[in-house]
Every structure is written in C-alpha cells, then in structure tokens.
C-alpha cells in the first residue's frame, strides 16, 4: 500500500468513525431535542408531568377569551386530535392568532389547565401578499361548502 493510500484510508476511517459516533450521540440527544409536545403526546403521558415543558399546536378557532384584567388570556391548543386549555398572563406576540401555530411553556396543573409563563407564535413557511391569502381562503371556503352540500 502506498503511503498516500494508507493516509487516505486512515482519514476515511477516522471520519467514518466520528460520523457514526456523532450519529449515536445525536440519537441519544433526540429525546432531549423535543422542543415541544403536541396535545396528543401530552394525553399519552409522553410529556414530563410536574415539570415545566412546552406544548405546541394550533390556537383553536373561537377559543381565545380575555379576562377582565386585560392581561390574562385563556385559549385552547389543538393538534386536531386532542386539545389542551391554556391560561396565560402577559404580552402575546403579534402573530398570536386563532387558527395559527403557538408554542407555550409552563406546567400542567391538576385541573387539566396548562398554566403558561411564556407564549411564542409559530408561523408557517408561506409568504404571499394579503390579497392572495384572501383569495386562497375564499377558494377554501367555497370548496368546503361544496363538500357540505
């Protein structure tokens, strides 16, 4: 074996070994890399109960209710299968809207309400002018009415 080939073989095996090691490490980390749990996961007791964790999903349409103090807000997080009622006191991000994505950090209390101390908005990857979004929504509504009939 020529010295150059030998060196190449050493480099290749070194990189492969490190690659495999990193994959194993990352695999172990994956359980910690879960940024948020969906309501279904929470229902299946996959979330760390008793500790602070994050839930993520969509804000259910028509579920946002503001308390009289003007700062506390109640809403429901859904993943279309399961739901979690959330209570939060504080400033909400601009993109916090019904039907849009949300990630909330807090604790699940015994009464089944998730008391959040941080609420973040999770938006989607679509970018378009408002007119186009409106047209899409109209088309969607039209399709749904056809389906209902």
């Amino acid at each position: 074996m020529k010295p150059r080939h030998k060196k190449l073989a050493i480099i290749a095996s070194g990189v492969t070994a490190l690659g495999i090691a990193s994959i194993l490490v990352l695999n172990a980390f994956q359980s910690n890399l879960v940024f948020f749990f969906s309501p279904t996961q929470v229902a299946n007791n996959e979330a760390p109960m008793g500790k602070s964790f994050r839930i993520g999903g969509l804000v259910e349409e028509g579920s946002i209710k503001r308390q009289t103090d003007g700062l506390t807000v109640n809403f429901v997080v859904t993943d279309t299968a399961k739901v979690i009622p959330v209570q939060y006191t504080g400033i909400l991000p601009d993109l916090f809207k019904e039907g849009k994505g949300v990630v909330a950090q807090g604790k699940l209390t015994d009464d089944g309400i998730f008391r959040a101390d941080e609420v973040l908005a999770k938006h989607d990857e679509n970018y378009m002018p408002p007119e186009a979004a409106e047209a899409l929504e109209q088309a969607d509504k039209a399709r749904q009415t056809v389906l209902v009939q």
């Binding site: 990193s22 940024f35 993109l95 849009k100 990630v103 973040l120 908005a121 938006h123 970018y127 002018p129």
Partner: protein
C-alpha cells in the same frame, strides 16, 4: 482547446488568475445586491401574516444558505488538501472560513431580530437555532486552531480534521425542521416542492442569494491571494513580483 488545469493549482499561477477574476465578481455582487434590494423593498408586496417584518428574509435566508454552503466548500477544499497534499486547496479553505463565520453570525443576528417581533423571543434552544450556533462555533474553532499552530502545513491538517468532522452538522441544520419539533418553520424553498412564496418575493430572495455568492467568491479570492503571498514570501516569484512593482 485543452486547458491545463494543473497549471492553476500552483499558488503562483492562481495568484494572477484570481487577481483577474476579483473585479468581475465584485461588480456582479454589487449590481445583484442593488437589484435584489430594489425588488425586496420596492417591488415585493407586504406579507399576509408578517406585514413588513418579513423583509428581513432578503438577507436572513441568503446569509443562512451561505453559512451552510461555504462550510461544505471549505470542508471539501480542506479534505482535498489533506488527501492530496495540495497547498493551494488548503489555502482556499483557510480563506473561506472568516466569510463563512460572518454569514453564520448574520443568519443568527437577523434571525434574532426577526424572531423577537414575530415569535415573541430573540432566541430559543430549538434544533434549528442550536445547530446553526454550533456551526458558528465550528468556524471559530477552525480559525482559532489554525491561528494557534505556527507551521502552516500542520495548521492545514488540524483545520481539515475539524472541517471534515463538522460537516455532519450541515444536514442536521438543514433537516432539523423536519426531524424535530422546532419553533422555526419549515423550508419555504426546497428542491422537492414548489416554493411557498409569491414570485416577486422569491425573485428578490434568489437575487440576493446570488449577490451573496458573488461577494463571497470575490472576498475569498482576495483573501486567498493575501494568504498565498504570506506563505510564499520567501519564494523567487514573490521576489520578482516586488521587483516588477518597483
């Protein structure tokens, strides 16, 4: 007509070739940047959910793309230098690192300024943001390791090891939004799906990306030339260069 590519793999010939290419890439970068910003700020419409804040995309996405792409290019040149003992390829890798680090920083910075008004936070430890931060550390590690070793040949080898190992991070960054739950949204532009952006928005973003490309090439070529001179200062051709400059 056959071009003798090996001729340009010698630092001396590359020095002159790169010198001729720099003006082309610099001018192209400037022209594309003006065109891209014009489209981004005066042609592209308001976004339906993010309003005007989305205009950060015209620098955020190009910077993030460049941060990943430059790392891959740097690792490839490092690897070639390590495997074939070619001096020039290692010099190019060393020249890419600062520009790559700068684009990584910009991706993180513009991301923070975008995250605050839209998500409600400057920073979260989700997989996408964390892996991009690791990328910045990899660039810094590469540069500081090379700076710490006096012998350039040994510095090249040590740097190449970091560069090659760190390549694992690139697919992690790219696919993090698919593999894990993240606050960061999925890709708006990918090879497998049609873009999820209005055409003018997409055009502005792609032109800005091209501008960043041209800029990165120009500045890397300039830096490679400086590194060549630094490392070859004792050779006859650099001496002749000085003689000719008199």
């Amino acid at each position: 007509m056959a071009i003798n590519w090996f001729k340009y793999s010698s630092p001396a010939s590359f020095y002159f070739l790169a010198g001729k290419m720099v003006p082309f890439f610099s001018i192209t970068a400037a022209v594309l940047c003006v065109a891209g910003l014009y489209i981004g700020f005066f042609v592209a419409p308001t976004d339906f959910q993010q309003g005007e804040a989305y205009r950060i995309i015209f620098i955020h996405v190009p910077a993030a793309w460049m941060s990943m792409f430059l790392y891959v290019v740097m690792a490839v040149w490092s690897g070639i230098g390590l495997a074939f003992n070619t001096r020039l390829s290692s010099m190019v890798a060393t020249a890419i690192a600062p520009t790559g680090a700068m684009f990584t920083f910009l991706a993180l910075w513009t991301g923070a300024l975008w995250g605050k008004p839209m998500w409600g936070t400057w920073w979260v430890w989700d997989a996408r943001l964390t892996s991009e931060l690791i990328l910045l550390f990899l660039y810094i590690g590469f540069m500081s390791l090379q700076a710490a070793i006096d012998d350039p040949r040994r510095a090249d080898k040590a740097g190449a090891v970091i560069a090659l190992v760190g390549v694992v991070n690139i697919p992690i960054i790219y696919f993090s939004v698919k593999w894990w739950n993240t606050l960061h949204q999925g890709a708006s532009v990918s090879l497998t799906q049609s873009p999820k952006m209005a055409t003018t928005m997409l055009t502005g973003m792609l032109i800005m990306s091209l501008a960043c490309w041209m800029y990165a090439i120009a500045v890397t070529l300039i830096r490679t030339r400086v590194i060549i001179l630094e490392r070859e200062r004792h050779t006859a051709w650099v001496g002749e260069l000085q003689g000719a400059a008199r």
